[in-house]
């Protein structure tokens, strides 16, 4: 009974803190611009199964992708066990979900096995980060802090797996008839164990508490970590842009103005005159909810940067940095902006975080978006910043201004008159 009470209290605290974090994110989202309507749910579910649960994009890097996919699938099995622990703890039960019969056994079995696999893999990932020189984990945006975050989260996962196995071992030692459901734990128990029911019981309880408390801690650490992708990946994939990668978003306000220019008698829907929105993006609040959840989802894996032609040829642009910058600026600015709508710290995403040199180096090739395992859309950040620079500041590179002027004057990016448009067809013969 006392255990139940303490446990319920812990759950309450953990859930409240988590709710607070999520609420903050939600309030941020509400301050941002709309991205696109969320329709075509069949297609979205397809993506969720394929890119989300099927992990198809992470598998584009076959070896390390497969190892990571194992961790993901293992987490799903282990999640079931965590849900059971929650029910057990709240209602003072033991293995409450065993009423599910064979399904329960199968999930326990795979959970135990995966805990061991993940433990080994985390050790591999940790040593890869610490001992090997992985180019993908380097770059100007990869600071000491981001590396520490990665190491800390990996260590937490390691402890989660150790405590899970410890709990299973204690359980198996006292329930030998269930040994076959916990293959790895029962193997360990058979190799080394102190043959005392009390010891087994205490050992199981300690690990039970350690595991569930670690889960609560981990869940509340995640919203402030790059490992938030554990929660965000699936929703982010579900909410992906469904249009072709190279299709840019339309600016409806410009459409209205252009229509008015071409036909002054056209009716415009009345807009809110005192709410003049910026064209494009200068700072984070000009972005959409998708830019924000993209930035929360980014795992900093660097797959995007590793295929970026600008980055590969030594330019300053690194698509991963765009997401890190966006998130950092959100964290910096949003708390103030929520308190005071006119807040201004003389800083902005453009220039103070993302430089013009980065923005103009992009070829919009979409290699980054293609490679990102969680369907992040980097070019859209760049293109929104360019829209701001071009339309609000008129500070695009001079050659691009010249190109634009040519199109305006003579309908081509170069200085040729429209009357020359058919010159290519002069003296065109075909052999028949």
């Amino acid at each position: 009974m006392i255990k139940q009470l303490i446990f319920s209290l812990t759950v309450l605290i953990a859930a409240s803190v988590f709710f607070y974090s999520v609420r903050n994110i939600w309030l941020n989202i509400k301050l941002l611009k709309p991205a696109y309507p969320l329709d075509r749910w069949n297609q979205r579910l397809g993506l969720l199964l394929n890119v989300g649960f099927g992990q198809t994009k992470i598998l584009r890097f076959p070896l390390i992708g497969f190892l990571h996919a194992l961790v993901f699938w293992g987490f799903l099995a282990i999640l079931f066990g965590s849900a059971e622990m929650l029910i057990d703890g709240l209602f003072g039960l033991e293995k409450s979900l065993s009423i599910l019969g064979i399904a329960h056994k199968a999930l326990m079995f795979s959970g135990d096995l995966f805990a061991f696999i993940i433990l080994i893999l985390i050790l591999v990932f940790l040593s890869r980060r610490m001992l090997m020189h992985v180019k993908r984990f380097e770059g100007i945006e990869m600071t000491h802090k981001t590396h520490k975050d990665a190491t800390f989260a990996l260590t937490l996962i390691l402890l989660l797996m150790v405590s899970l196995l410890g709990m299973n071992m204690g359980y198996v030692a006292n329930h030998t008839s269930h040994a076959s459901i916990y293959p790895v734990s029962s193997l360990f128990v058979s190799i080394f164990w102190i043959d005392s029911p009390e010891f087994s019981h205490v050992f199981e309880q300690i690990n039970w508490w350690a595991h569930i408390l670690l889960i609560f801690f981990f869940a509340n650490y995640l919203p402030y970590s790059k490992h938030f992708h554990v929660f965000m990946s699936l929703p982010n994939v579900l909410l992906s842009k469904l249009e072709p990668l190279t299709q840019m978003s339309n600016m409806d306000r410009v459409t209205q103005e252009v229509k008015l220019m071409l036909d002054p008698s056209a009716e415009i829907p009345s807009s809110h005159p005192n709410q003049i929105e910026r064209f494009g993006m200068k700072d984070v609040e000009d972005g959409t909810w998708k830019h924000y959840i993209d930035s929360l989802t980014c795992t900093q894996c660097g797959r995007c940067t590793s295929v970026c032609p600008a980055n590969l040829t030594g330019k300053m642009l690194s698509p991963r940095k765009l997401l890190i910058d966006y998130r950092a600026r959100m964290n910096e600015k949003m708390p103030h902006l929520k308190a005071d709508a006119n807040f201004n710290d003389q800083k902005s995403l453009l220039d103070d975080y993302i430089s013009r040199e980065e923005i103009w180096a992009c070829t919009t090739c979409n290699a980054c978006a293609q490679e990102c395992p969680v369907n992040i859309d980097h070019p859209s950040i760049i293109l929104e910043l360019r829209r701001y620079i071009f339309m609000e500041e008129s500070k695009a590179p001079s050659l691009l201004n010249a190109m634009s002027t040519n199109i305006e004057n003579n309908g081509a990016p170069w200085q040729y008159p429209p009357s020359d448009r058919m010159k290519w067809a002069d003296q065109l013969y075909i052999n028949e």
Binding site: V307, L312, F390, K423
Partner: protein, 266 residues
């Protein structure tokens, strides 16, 4: 094979209208295809293919104006939309429903971005169109002009990753050669040539090398005799890349339309 040569009178929509003809397809030449000297050759060869397959087509001539793709990617949304709406008006005037183009950027813009302003068309990239002509038996390939020379294909970003057209170009190339070799980065992993997103019209940012230099290196690793692409911008970049690596005497950079025109000695 070639018995006589005939001067092509490229049909223009405005003239067709006065003759009460409504061609089935608009061949959208695009700004690069109209004005860039290298791209103009591709335009000419593609028209020969249209003629030899007896396709009912016409062009807009001086009524065509820039698609707005580069302006939009440079950030000038106003200009892009003006161009788009103007072109859509022209298409409407001639009742145009089907459009073919050799430019993946214009293809992408007209196909995916013009619908926002009420312009809905069946749009073909010339690689799709040629592949269909071959499959329908309207175009038969008469020779394999490249023998056993190694040929590689560079996927334009706006065609490949943008619009998932990977196999049609390869289908066509396989009609004229048995030796299509793939670069290590191909299809959805292809490296950009460096021209997209309005880069074509500006100086590159500073770095260790040019993007086209790196991409050309990918191709040179295969020792090809021919590098094929299907985009006027990629053509410029890869041609420059081959020159930079001083290989212009031994390696040709050609468009898909050009290899077909050569195979059939058009």
């Amino acid at each position: 094979m070639s018995s006589n040569s005939r001067l092509i009178q490229v049909p223009i929509f405005s003239e067709c209208l006065s003759q009460n003809k409504t061609p089935e397809y608009l061949f959208w030449v695009g700004s690069a295809g109209s004005f860039d000297d290298r791209a103009k050759k591709i335009t000419r060869d593609f028209v020969k293919i249209l003629e030899s397959a007896k396709v009912d087509y016409a062009v807009l001539g001086s009524e065509e104006t820039d698609s707005g793709d580069s302006a939009r990617r440079a950030g000038n949304e106003f200009l892009f939309q003006m161009q788009a709406i103007q072109n859509i008006e022209t298409f409407k005037m001639y009742g145009i429903q089907k459009i073919i183009t050799c430019d993946p950027h214009d293809y992408n813009t007209i196909k995916n971005e013009y619908p926002a302003y009420g312009g809905n068309y069946k749009v073909y990239h010339h690689t799709e169109f040629i592949a269909e002509l071959i499959k329908n038996g309207k175009l038969s390939i008469k020779s394999k002009p490249f023998g056993h020379d190694a040929i590689t294909y560079h996927d334009p970003c706006y065609l490949g990753r943008g619009n998932k057209i990977y196999e049609e170009p390869r289908f066509i190339i396989n009609q004229v050669t048995e030796n299509l070799v793939e670069m290590k980065r191909n299809r959805s992993r292809a490296l950009c040539c460096g021209a997209g997103g309005a880069q074509m019209f500006k100086e590159p940012e500073k770095g260790e090398m040019e993007v086209f230099e790196l991409r050309t290196k990918d191709a040179l690793e295969l020792n090809p005799k021919v590098i094929i692409t299907a985009c006027p911008f990629c053509m410029t970049m890869l041609t420059d890349g081959v020159k930079l690596h001083e290989k212009e005497d031994s390696i040709q950079v050609l468009d898909i339309a050009e290899i077909i025109a050569r195979a059939n000695q058009l």
